[in-house]
């Protein structure tokens, strides 16, 4: 365990894509127990990976559409995005000025996935995202920190945080910004764990998830926060879009790439 605390993981590299500098940081891999599985103690092994330091912004997404016009508001196939796709943009597909540096929202899972793949990246898995998101400013695993959890939960309660600009709050232990506080983020396997609409029974669903849900221990804000995330993910279909849902990309860790730097 100590290894993960002592290894300096702050390692920058720059990918020059589409003429922009997109900053990524390495998240040192490790073993952890996902929040939903805490009763069975099922450990998950996370390989090291690079993660975007900030959520993708409206501006960045607009650049992407310039190159891949099939993802514009006008051209997108109904199969890949619902009617609210990029709904905050103007009719002719322009980004409103005040949103340029805010996290892109009202994007479908398909669009988010395409964006990442077109940059030779991918969407994070649920486990990868949760693994990175358990770090507070000072700690690699702040899940037991009640203040950290309180901040997350109260953030989920505040309306219209998607209007804030990215990178304005303090980065977490890894140097990653805004995993909490602005928007929910798409993950690759967003619907692999289902919380059904009926969150009090445990029929036909992942029993572990429900037991944990029904028996959230008295002070467990950690589970409260996690459950809200799992609930939002399981309420969505891949073509759905939401004001409060954006995304960021990750990339597999590559030894050679590091050596070449």
């Amino acid at each position: 365990m100590l290894r993960y605390f002592t290894i300096a993981i702050l390692f920058f590299f720059h990918l020059n894509l589409n003429g922009q500098d997109l900053e990524m940081l390495k998240i040192e891999g490790g073993v952890y127990i996902p929040l939903y599985g805490s009763q069975e103690e099922v450990q998950v092994e996370i390989e090291s990976f690079y993660m975007d330091t900030k959520p993708v912004t409206h501006q960045e997404f607009a650049e992407f559409i310039k190159q891949y016009p099939q993802w514009s508001k006008e051209n997108v196939k109904a199969l890949f995005a619902d009617a609210s796709y990029l709904t905050k943009w103007t009719a002719d597909g322009e980004v409103p000025k005040h949103l340029k540096n805010s996290p892109v929202n009202n994007v479908s899972w398909y669009a988010a996935k395409a964006y990442c793949e077109c940059q030779d990246k991918r969407l994070p898995t649920t486990d990868e995202w949760e693994f990175a998101a358990k770090a507070s400013e000072n700690s690699i695993d702040a899940r037991e920190d009640s203040l950290f959890n309180q901040k997350i939960v109260s953030g989920y309660e505040k309306p219209k945080t998607y209007l804030k600009e990215v990178g304005q709050s303090s980065p977490n232990y890894y140097g990653v910004y805004d995993l909490h506080g602005l928007v929910w983020e798409w993950v690759y396997d967003f619907n692999s764990i289902m919380i059904t609409g009926e969150s009090r029974s445990n029929n036909n669903t992942d029993a572990n998830l429900f037991c944990a849900g029904g028996a959230v221990s008295a002070n467990d804000l950690m589970n409260y926060a996690a459950f809200m995330r799992y609930a939002i993910r399981s309420s969505l279909k891949a073509r759905n879009t939401m004001s409060n849902m954006g995304f960021r990309c990750v990339k597999d860790y590559d030894d050679e790439l590091e050596l070449n730097q």
């Binding site: 609409g197 009926e198 399981s234």
Partner: protein
């Protein structure tokens, strides 16, 4: 031989003839059992369609009357929004239809309700609805689970008449309810409820804020307090003062009032009571059983009651949770303002208070008062132009009746040994600063008023400077006090 056989046959006939009624009866009985296990309201025919009228509290939609059962479209939007819980205290409410409690839904038995739940695109969380009036999975919870920016439709037939709670049942369930996601759906019986003059929608709920009661600013939900069942606010219709002042419910003398009362919880049961009134009829737990002549009715969290009463005399009837600290310290207080002619048979105010002197020796042994009541000259600073003493006093009377009267009594006489008098009070007349302080900050510990010692506790009154001045001006201008004038500036400077 032949005869014998005939007799045998006859016996056989007789045997079956005798047995037959039993067999038949047995069959019939069985059939009856099967029928009674089944809700026959399922067979009520649905004729035509209509859009349900939805109303925000304290209003309710028009009565069903004698209309046929219909396919009823209910269209409800979930909105997460910041609103005021108390003066200067804000909270992020999660609402069904933009109000707490959510929109009132009125149906009749046999309706097929086609329910569309819309989650506003700006919302952050997925939600759903569990209607206690629904027979089926989770009261509709799973079928209505919907992400922000999406809508879902499901339908159900109303089988059981009654007044039912609905609420959100998305994880974490307690938090969704604690943030205001509950309301009432009424299923009227065949032929409808008996007509009344006034109908109102009142629902109790408990709220848990990071800051303590009255702390200003946007307050976060406090999970630990919710788990401990220790609310900062217990209120009617979502906020302090939702049913007082200009929001008070109204009725005329002689009218019959029906209150659809629900309790959203999430935690506390309500001891619902109306001060100065007796419920003529109570539909217990919102069901069929009616109790008469009820003072206080117990309404469980996630439960309801229908209350009917005729108002006989003009008065401000006070709606409270008779777990009384919730009413006077946490907000569970509303007013039903009844206007009209006094009815001295029903209630008569009696005579003015006159001295009561049992001529005991205590009077003689009481030490003389240290100080005579004297006018405080320094207080007569000229007030700013926009301050009008008479207006202030008039306003103060209202504030007094809402905030002070319960303890200090109608004529400021107080209650011996418990609540000090405000009438001819040396304490007030000699120390306006202390009076202001008592109202603004509360007062605990031993004080001496007119020679009597009191050791009690008065909570801080959360009033604006103007209101503090008004209530004190009312007190100073009445009951033999010295007429000191308190301006809002004076209050501000004293704080």
């Amino acid at each position: 031989m032949k005869t014998h056989r005939k007799t045998q046959t006859r016996f056989a006939y007789l045997f079956f003839a005798l047995l037959f009624p039993f067999l038949f009866a047995a069959c019939q009985q069985q059939e009856e059992v099967v029928k009674s296990n089944r809700n026959k309201n399922e067979d009520i025919k649905v004729v035509g369609t209509m859009k349900a009228e939805l109303t925000a509290p304290p209003h309710v939609p028009k009565p069903i009357g004698k209309r046929t059962a219909k396919r009823l479209f209910v269209d409800m939007e979930i909105i997460e929004e910041v609103a005021e819980m108390d003066d200067g205290v804000e909270y992020v409410y999660w609402t069904f239809g933009g109000s707490v409690p959510g929109s009132f839904i009125r149906t009749r038995v046999g309706d097929i309700v086609e329910f569309t739940l819309k989650n506003h695109p700006d919302n952050k969380l997925p939600h759903n609805i569990d209607l206690h009036a629904v027979t089926g999975q989770g009261g509709g919870a799973e079928a209505s689970f919907v992400a922000p920016g999406q809508q879902k439709t499901f339908s159900f037939k109303t089988l059981n008449p009654g007044l039912y709670v609905y609420h959100c049942a998305t994880a974490p369930v307690g938090m969704h309810i604690a943030n205001g996601m509950y309301g009432l759906i009424l299923v009227e019986p065949l032929g409808g409820l008996p007509p009344v003059d006034k109908e109102y929608y009142v629902m109790q709920g408990d709220f848990y804020t990071k800051g303590k009661h009255g702390e200003k600013g946007l307050q976060d939900f406090d999970l630990q307090k919710a788990v401990d069942e220790n609310p900062d606010y217990v209120v009617f219709n979502g906020k302090v003062g939702a049913l007082t002042g200009e929001n008070a419910l109204t009725a005329q003398v002689g009218e019959t009032v029906r209150i659809f009362f629900g309790n959203g919880g999430p935690n506390l049961a309500s001891s619902f009571h109306v001060i100065g009134e007796i419920f003529d009829r109570v539909h217990l737990e919102g069901g069929k059983s009616i109790n008469e002549n009820v003072q206080t009715t117990l309404v469980p969290a996630g439960g309801s009651a229908m209350l009917e009463f005729t108002v006989e005399s003009p008065d401000n009837l006070v709606l409270v949770d008779h777990s009384i600290f919730r009413a006077f310290n946490k907000g569970a207080l509303g007013i039903l303002s009844v206007s009209g002619e006094e009815n001295h048979v029903v209630y008569d105010e009696g005579t003015e208070a006159i001295p009561y002197n049992p001529q005991s020796e205590i009077a003689e042994s009481t030490p003389p008062q240290e100080k005579q009541v004297e006018a405080v000259v320094e207080e007569q600073v000229s007030a700013p132009a926009d301050f009008d003493l008479q207006t202030s006093i008039t306003k103060g009377k209202k504030i007094y009746s809402q905030n002070c009267l319960a303890c200090h009594q109608a004529e400021g006489q107080g209650i011996p040994k418990t609540f000090p008098p405000l009438a001819k009070s040396d304490y007030l007349n000699n120390h306006p600063d202390k009076a202001i302080n008592a109202v603004v900050n509360g007062l605990t510990g031993e004080i001496t008023v007119n020679g009597e010692t009191y050791n009690s506790a008065m909570p801080a009154q959360r009033l604006s400077d103007e209101d503090v001045a008004a209530v004190l001006n009312y007190v100073y201008s009445n009951w033999g006090n010295n007429g000191t004038t308190i301006t809002p500036e004076k209050v501000k400077n004293t704080k």
